[in-house]
Structure formats: structure tokens, C-alpha cells
């Protein structure tokens, strides 16, 4: 079988796997990285949301053959390392607002939130209610209200000098 090489959470990995297997299964079943969760495999529920070269993506919907050797994948397990602290400010915001209930969707929610905040600030603006309305990640426990509050708190911690006006 073909060998695929790329970087996950700062470590170079090499997997021997059929080309068309989606990256989610490579991460979960072959590499034992369990933070990204399966909720649909259809790019709908967003429970597996992770970062590819800093941008959010859903590993359930990309073939491992399409991951390049230079690609850097970051899952929830790799998030703290990106800021050199024990917890990323968004994770801390999640704790401060006691967002999680069952917790199954939360790694994907947090990864989405981090990417969303970076994306919005790259556009030179702050998170709006419309941005929050557009989040697709399912939370079947219904923690949505706390997710919205935590994202705004996480944003304030990630971009402390920018006035948040939503």
C-alpha cells in the first residue's frame, strides 16, 4: 500500500494506507489520535473539525492521498502547542463558561472557534452575531448558548488589543 507522509501536531508521521481512505480514519484508526470525533462522515456535523495549515477543515472529507508531505495538520491535541501554554485561550474560555456537557462535539467546536476568530480578525473585524449564527457544528446536548458566550470570551483573550464589537 502507498506510504503517506505529513505532519500532525508538530510531528512528522508516515502511514501505510490505501489512497482513498479519508484522513479522519487515518488519524483515529491508524494513528490513535482520538480528539477529532466522527458524527457523520459527510462534512455536515463538523465534529472532526481540525486545522490544515492553520485553516479549519474536516478530515472526514479529504482523502489521505490529497494530504501533501508539507501539510501540517493540527487536531485538538495539538492546539496548546500552538501558543506555548497549557491551554489555548479558547479552551480556557470553554472551561470558564463550563460549555461542555457530554463533550463529544467540543473538540470540533473549539477548533472551529479558533479558526473563526482568526479568520474574522484577518478580515480586520470582530465576531458578530451573524458569524455565530453561521456556525455549522452540531451540539446535540444543546450547549449553543454557552458556545456563543465562550467564543466571544476566547476572542477577547486571543485579540486583547482589538475592541470586540458584536
Amino acid at each position: 500500500m502507498p506510504v503517506h507522509t505529513f505532519t500532525v501536531n508538530g510531528e512528522e508521521v508516515e502511514v501505510d494506507c490505501d489512497d482513498k481512505v479519508r484522513l479522519l480514519w487515518v488519524l483515529r484508526d491508524l494513528l490513535g489520535i482520538h480528539g477529532p470525533k466522527y458524527g457523520c462522515g459527510l462534512d455536515v456535523c463538523k465534529a472532526c473539525t481540525s486545522l490544515l495549515n492553520g485553516q479549519k477543515f474536516n478530515p472526514c472529507s479529504i482523502e489521505v492521498a490529497d494530504i501533501e508531505p508539507t501539510d501540517e495538520v493540527v487536531t485538538i491535541e495539538g492546539l496548546p502547542a500552538t501558543v506555548g501554554a497549557a491551554l489555548h485561550p479558547m479552551q480556557q474560555a470553554w472551561l470558564d463558561h463550563d460549555v461542555a456537557q457530554c463533550g463529544y462535539c467540543q473538540p470540533g467546536q473549539i477548533m472551529n472557534a479558533v479558526a473563526l476568530v482568526h479568520q474574522v480578525h484577518a478580515e480586520g473585524r470582530s465576531i458578530t452575531e451573524h458569524d455565530l449564527d453561521g456556525i455549522r457544528n452540531i451540539c446535540r446536548c444543546g450547549t449553543y448558548t454557552r458556545i456563543r458566550e465562550a467564543i466571544l470570551a476566547g476572542e477577547a483573550a486571543m485579540y486583547p488589543t482589538v475592541a470586540t464589537g458584536s
Partner: protein, 786 residues
């Protein structure tokens, strides 16, 4: 050794005020100090008589009293659990931590945190000094390991505190000797016991010394509600850090060597059967595939990755036999329900009658984590890991299916990624066990595909609810309700409890589980001259279960819509009407709080309206005020790829659970219930077409998403009204659904008669075909620029 336990607390001590200012006697409880290497203490409780179940605030009830007012499902579950609760043990470790293996399932509802709080409070510890794990299936607990009916805190509150109090008492006794002091002079804080001399000793240092060589009884007094230090304070979940770091372990994350991904190729219609597999050898030759074998529910495949399982499922050429409901579509089931509705009593001609029937469509109870289980079966044993809310019944059923004695089957209860009723059953665990055996005794990691979880997984049954109100002389004299439902499956063990305890329920003789559960949970929160609610269930060909409650959301919504019409017929404001007819002060109090906080009656533009509803269950009261915006500019708001529709813009909820253990966790449960209630009222259902549910993705089954979340959500936790916690997990769904429905009726000028209200609109999605059985995962989602 464990027999002859007194059924009631021992001698009442001095009176102690409670939150409601009532004098309650202090009570001593018997428990056990259990022979173990370190100190272990257990609660020893007998049967509590039904009389003790009457809670303050429910007295003074008017003429209409349903059985559930005085004795409800929670009481029955408590009674069933009481004889075995002495076997539930708190253990003190040499490191000073307290361990407790909770015989319940944590699925997100926060019970591990709330139980840890009870132990920490009673033993004067910090929350992080208590370790809660989930107990394996323990058949000796008989009925004391069912997680359901929002009953965990109600049933565990006293036993777990008795065990903790006994442990602390034993530690203090030994500390007094060690420190040469009197027990009464010792200070006890965070696991350190200090004598007046300043000398101290820790729980950990005493754990072995306080251990008893033989099990013996001891009595203890519990802390009075007024002296709680942890109970009643907002606490964050004890597993929050694991959740936000991705470390929390769910069934599919359990490390069992060799347990390879396994999926089942399922039939195109509900409960279809395997007639023949035409190409097993070809599928076995596909990359990664290790095994292919038929099991009763389909054809199981095992592979190196789940991706290869999906490919194998789609490559299978299976001849399917018919299912159990192939001829039926939504309209057929609805007609069947109407035809089987129990009759109403003839109405006297003098009364004004409002008579309405409502239909509640099938709804999936699927959590975000699909059905999943790990199984390792050998010729003589089986070991299962899964989120199981009825692990004892699961163990027995799986043993039977494997041809093993129950004692050879171990069921480990893993934390669940949600449940909402789904994990009352062990569908995945049984399939995993059977697949492991069918593959020649290989370990399997079995998971359902999302599309299967909607189409073949359990659903809340379709139901109709007819409500008739009679009005005479300016008041409501009678409310009757006839609920008719597709049969709900109670084979998870609750059925056995109900049948075993049926004769103990005062005032009701029920012949079937169904009517028993209905009468034990349903009540009219209003003081009408007479009320009468009854149920009939039909058609057992569907895979059903509860969905964050069985009957209440539908029964409550139907009733509240008719109550609004009764108020209108009498020329009364819906809130004033409810307040006037409310059965008791607690019901009035929650109504008053939401009306004030939600500004009931405030002026709103056309197309925007409020609704108010109230519900009584689980020894509690819950009221909701909802505001909905049905104006075209809102209904058609532009959110990329979103199914929008009317938006609930504000929800104010007030809940009185008696004694709130963890207000923060309670608020979370209420928020979740609000999201469910909105979904059930407006968007969330399954469409049945010739034996197949059409929904196969979260973009088909419209559970609440962020674009439907109310911008304003306010949860008001009422101060304690009793000395015991009621239920919370399912409580918010009914009154929220009802309040949203009432608001929708007012905003649109049309009373909806089918729920969710969008069900008969054109489908908002392209139906995923049933052939191939599973949709292929997309391949082209690399973010631009990444």
C-alpha cells in the same frame, strides 16, 4: 447480613429549618461499614413508603388529582432501587481521595459532578478530592442500575450521602483516638482533621486504620440542608478539562488491542432481513477488509479503518427480505393512530366544548455519537465496552444471544456522547458481541454510520394527542386528553420494574407498562373540576424509545395549545388564566418569574408573539416564556446552507426542582432542553416513506443549529422549595416546545396541529438513496489557500 434493614430513618432529632422555612425533623440513617482493605462505607436503606413521597408545596391540591401528583415515576424508581442501595459503597483511599463507582450512566447530564458534590459536601472535601467512575453491570443491584426518567439525583441523593457521612464519622472516630481528642473538638477541612492542640491527621493517613475487619451496621446523621457548603453552589463539570482537550474517552476511543473497526450493512427498509450475501469473497478481498459475516440485523464487516468498512458495506451485494413496516408512510401511521384513539366521555349539552387533535411525528433520538460498542468475545466469555443506561438487562440479553451464562459477560459502562433515550438500549453492544463471535471470536470496534443511525436507529414514536376542554358558567369544568402512540419499547428493564411494582402504586391499577408509565408521569398542572388523561399504544414494528422523555413534551404541548384556546374562549389573558388555575404555589411561582423576566404582554410587531407554558413532573415545576419571530425577513434570513424558518428570539425559563444540587449543571440541562423543545416544535422530525425514514444526515434532520438558537436565553433556578432534588434532564423540553407552539399560533394566527410545524412542507433536502446503503464521504473539502 443485609436483611432486616429498618425502612425509615431512625429517631427524629431536633427540628431544622429548610429553604422554604418549614421545620423538618433531623433524621438518622443506618448504613454499613464494609470490610475492606481501606475504609469503605455504604448506605443501608429500606423501602420508603409512598406516603413519604408527598412533597411540600403540593398540598392543597384542588379537585383534580392525578396519581402522578402524589406518587410518580421517580418514586417508583426510588422504591425499586432502595432495597439494594446498601451495596453502593464509598471508599477512602490512602492518597486521601474518595472513590465511588456510580451505578448510572453519564451521558452529558452532569450526574458524576452532582454526585461528587454530594460526597464532597458530606465529607467536607474539595470537589477534586472525589473520584467518580461508572460501575460495570452489577446484576446484584437488580433494579438499581437504570439511568432514566431524570431520576438519578432523586434516587442517589440520600444513599450516597449516608455512605459519605458514615465514612466521615468513622474517620473522625479514629482521628479522635490518634489525636487524643474528643470527636466534637476536631476540625475537619479538605481531608485534614485537626485537634485543638494543632496536631492533625489526613483522611489518607487514616484510610487503613479506619478500615473494619468485618462488615457492621452504624447509624449517622446527615447534614441539614441549611449547612450545605457544596450542594447548591454552582460547580463546573469534573470532566470539563478532559472534554476540551480531546482526552475524554468514549466507546470508540477505548484501547482494546485488536478491536478493529466494524460496521454493519443494513437493509433498505426498517428491520429488513438478510436473505443472502452474493459476494462475500469479493468484499473480503477489498483493501483492509478482514472479515464479513451475517448477523441478525445485517451483514457485518471488519476492516483496518472505518473508511474501508464504509467501502465494504457499499460493495456488498445482499438480497434483502422485507422489513416490518414496508407498506407504511407517515399518513398511514397517522390514520392508524386516529382509528385507535380511546373514546372520550359524552359531553353534556350545556357546555362549551373545545376539541382538538394534534399529531407528533417520528423523531430520531440519535446523539452525536452514533451507536457504538467494543466487544471481545471468546468461546467462554464476553467483555463489552459501551454507553449503557440499562447495563444489567444488556448483560442478560447479550449472554442469551451468545449462549453464555450472564456471569460470563462483563459490561463496562463507558461515558456516552449524549443519549436522549438512545442508550437505554444496547443495540450496538449486542451487534458487536454477535459480530465478534461471527468473525470467529475476534475483537471488534463496532460503530453505526450516521445515515443508519437516523434510518434504522431508534425513534421517538409518532403520536396523536386529542384534548377536549368543557367550559360552563365561566370556568373550565373538565379537561380530557386521549394520547395515542406508536408503541414505545420498554424492554430496557423499566418494564420489569413497572410490572414488579405495579401493585404498589396507590390508586392505579395498570395492566400494561405503557399505561403505567403514562399515569406515573403525566399530570395536569391546572385545578380544573375534573381531568382525565388516557393512552393507547399500537403497532410494534418500529424501533422506538424515549427522546428526552416519552410522553410529556407532546402531551404538554397539546394541552397548553388548548389551554390557550380555553383562555381565549373565556376572554382571559393566557398568563392570568394559567396563574388562576395553577394547582399550587410552586406552579404559580415559576409562572410569575418567567412572566416578569420575559415581560409578558410587551408590545411586539405583527408576526412576532409570545407564548407561555408550564409543566409539572419529576417533583418539580417548570415554566417557559418564548418569543418567536415569523416575519418573512426573519424566516428567509440568509445563512449559508442553512434551513432557517421562524426564529425563537427569546426564551425565559424558570425551574423549581425542589433542591438544586448544582445550579450551573441544572442551567446547562435547561438550556439543552430548550434547544430540544425548539427543534421538536419547529423543525426536527423523521419522514416515513414506505418503511424507510428519509433523513440520513444532520442536514436532513433539522435539530437546532446556531442559526436557530435564540439570541436571548435566560434560565432562572428557583431557590430550594423542598429538601430533596427532583429531576432535571428532560424537564425543559415539554414546556419549551409548548411555549414555542403557543407563540407560533399567536404570531401566525393559526394553531398548528402537526409537529414539527414544517413537517408537511416540501422536503428541504435531497434524499440520500438507500442504494448503495451508505453515502460516500466527500473528497474535496481542502480549504482554499490551505
Amino acid at each position: 447480613m443485609l436483611d432486616a434493614a429498618p425502612s425509615q430513618p431512625l429517631d427524629p432529632g431536633p427540628g431544622t429549618p429548610t429553604g422554604s422555612g418549614r421545620a423538618m425533623p433531623r433524621r438518622r440513617f443506618l448504613g454499613l461499614l464494609v470490610a475492606a482493605p481501606t475504609l469503605a462505607a455504604a448506605a443501608r436503606l429500606g423501602l420508603a413508603g409512598p406516603a413519604s413521597a408527598v412533597t411540600p408545596g403540593s398540598e392543597g391540591i384542588g379537585p383534580s388529582v392525578e396519581p402522578a401528583d402524589d406518587y410518580d415515576l421517580g418514586d417508583l424508581l426510588n422504591e425499586a432501587a432502595a432495597p439494594t442501595s446498601q451495596l453502593i459503597t464509598v471508599v477512602v483511599g490512602t492518597d486521601g481521595t474518595i472513590s465511588f463507582a456510580l451505578p448510572r450512566a453519564e451521558v452529558g447530564q452532569g450526574i458524576t459532578t452532582a454526585i461528587a458534590m454530594c460526597i464532597a459536601d458530606e465529607m467536607d472535601l474539595r470537589l477534586d478530592q472525589v473520584r467518580i467512575t461508572l460501575a460495570d453491570a452489577r446484576p446484584e443491584l437488580v433494579w438499581n442500575q437504570l439511568t432514566g426518567g431524570s431520576n438519578t439525583m432523586h434516587s442517589m441523593f440520600t444513599p450516597v450521602r449516608v455512605a459519605a457521612a458514615l465514612a466521615k464519622q468513622a474517620l473522625l472516630d479514629v482521628a479522635a483516638i490518634e489525636l487524643q481528642s474528643a470527636v466534637g473538638q476536631l476540625q475537619n477541612r479538605e481531608g485534614v482533621i485537626t485537634a485543638p492542640s494543632g496536631a492533625s491527621v489526613t483522611y489518607g493517613q487514616l484510610a487503613t486504620k479506619a478500615a473494619v475487619p468485618t462488615t457492621r451496621t452504624a447509624s449517622v446523621e446527615l447534614k441539614a440542608p441549611g449547612s450545605f457548603s457544596v450542594i447548591g453552589t454552582p460547580q463546573s463539570r469534573i470532566d470539563a478539562l478532559d472534554a476540551v482537550t480531546g482526552r475524554k474517552v468514549f466507546a470508540m476511543d477505548v484501547d482494546v488491542p485488536g478491536a478493529l473497526p466494524t460496521m454493519v450493512c443494513r437493509p433498505p427498509t426498517i428491520n429488513g432481513t438478510v436473505v443472502a450475501v452474493r459476494n462475500a469473497a469479493a468484499v473480503l478481498a477489498l483493501p483492509g477488509v478482514t472479515d464479513v459475516a451475517a448477523i441478525p440485523t445485517g451483514v457485518a464487516v471488519r476492516a483496518a479503518t472505518f473508511g474501508q468498512c464504509i467501502d465494504a458495506v457499499d460493495a456488498l451485494d445482499v438480497v434483502w427480505g422485507p422489513g416490518t413496516e414496508d407498506a407504511k408512510s407517515d399518513a398511514d401511521v397517522e390514520a392508524e393512530l386516529v382509528a385507535n384513539e380511546l373514546p372520550l366521555a359524552p359531553a353534556p349539552p350545556v357546555t362549551q366544548v373545545i376539541d382538538k387533535r394534534f399529531t407528533f411525528c417520528f423523531v430520531s433520538n440519535s446523539p452525536l455519537e452514533t451507536n457504538s460498542a467494543v466487544a471481545r468475545v471468546t468461546e467462554t466469555s464476553a467483555e463489552i465496552w459501551s454507553s449503557l443506561k440499562s447495563p444489567i438487562t444488556a448483560q442478560q440479553d447479550i449472554a442469551l444471544a451468545l449462549g453464555l451464562p450472564p456471569t460470563a459477560v462483563t459490561c463496562h459502562v463507558v461515558q456516552g456522547g449524549g443519549s436522549f433515550g438512545r442508550h437505554l438500549f444496547w443495540d450496538a453492544a449486542k451487534e458487536a458481541a454477535l459480530a465478534s463471535k461471527a468473525f470467529g471470536y475476534k475483537p471488534v470496534r463496532l460503530m453505526w454510520h450516521r445515515t443508519d443511525d437516523f434510518r434504522q436507529g431508534r425513534a421517538h414514536p409518532m403520536a396523536t394527542s386529542r384534548v377536549r376542554v368543557q367550559i360552563a358558567n365561566g370556568e373550565v369544568v373538565n379537561l380530557e386528553q386521549r394520547h395515542t402512540s406508536v408503541s414505545t419499547d420498554y424492554s430496557h428493564g423499566l418494564g420489569e420494574i413497572l410490572s414488579a411494582y405495579a401493585t404498589k402504586v396507590p390508586g392505579v391499577n395498570f395492566l400494561a407498562y405503557t399505561s403505567g408509565l403514562f399515569y406515573l408521569t403525566q399530570t395536569v398542572p391546572y385545578r380544573f373540576v375534573s381531568t382525565d388523561q388516557a393512552i393507547n399504544e399500537i403497532d410494534t414494528g418500529f424501533n422506538t424509545g424515549s427522546m428526552r422523555n416519552v410522553y410529556s413534551p407532546d402531551v404538554c404541548t397539546a394541552m397548553e395549545l388548548v389551554v390557550d384556546q380555553a383562555a381565549a374562549a373565556l376572554g382571559q389573558d393566557p398568563y392570568d388564566f394559567r396563574l388562576g388555575y395553577a394547582k399550587d404555589a410552586r406552579t404559580q411561582a415559576v409562572l410569575e418569574r418567567v412572566a416578569a423576566a420575559g415581560q409578558w404582554g410587551r408590545p411586539l410587531p405583527a408576526g412576532v408573539a409570545q407564548g407561555i407554558a408550564v409543566h409539572s413532573e419529576y417533583k418539580g415545576r417548570c415554566a417557559v416564556l418564548a418569543e418567536i419571530d415569523t416575519r418573512p425577513e426573519t424566516v428567509d434570513r440568509k445563512i449559508r446552507d442553512a434551513y432557517t424558518g421562524p426564529r425563537v428570539t427569546r426564551v425565559v425559563l424558570a425551574v423549581d426542582v425542589g433542591l438544586p444540587i448544582n445550579p450551573r449543571g441544572l442551567e446547562a440541562q435547561m438550556q439543552g432542553g430548550i434547544m430540544d423543545g425548539i427543534a421538536k416544535a419547529l423543525t426536527f422530525s423523521l419522514h416515513l416513506q414506505k418503511g424507510t425514514f428519509l433523513e440520513g444526515s444532520w442536514d436532513n434532520a433539522y435539530y437546532t443549529r446556531q442559526w436557530n438558537v435564540p439570541p436571548e436565553v435566560q434560565v432562572i433556578v428557583m431557590p430550594p422549595t423542598t429538601s430533596e432534588p427532583g429531576g432535571a434532564g428532560e424537564f425543559a423540553v415539554g414546556p419549551t416546545m409548548a411555549a414555542v407552539a403557543c407563540a407560533y399560533a399567536r404570531a401566525t394566527g393559526t394553531v398548528p396541529t402537526k409537529f414539527p410545524v414544517n413537517h408537511d412542507q416540501p422536503l428541504g433536502f435531497a434524499v440520500i438513496p438507500t442504494e448503495p446503503p451508505l453515502p460516500e464521504s466527500p473528497t474535496d473539502v481542502r480549504p482554499s489557500g490551505a
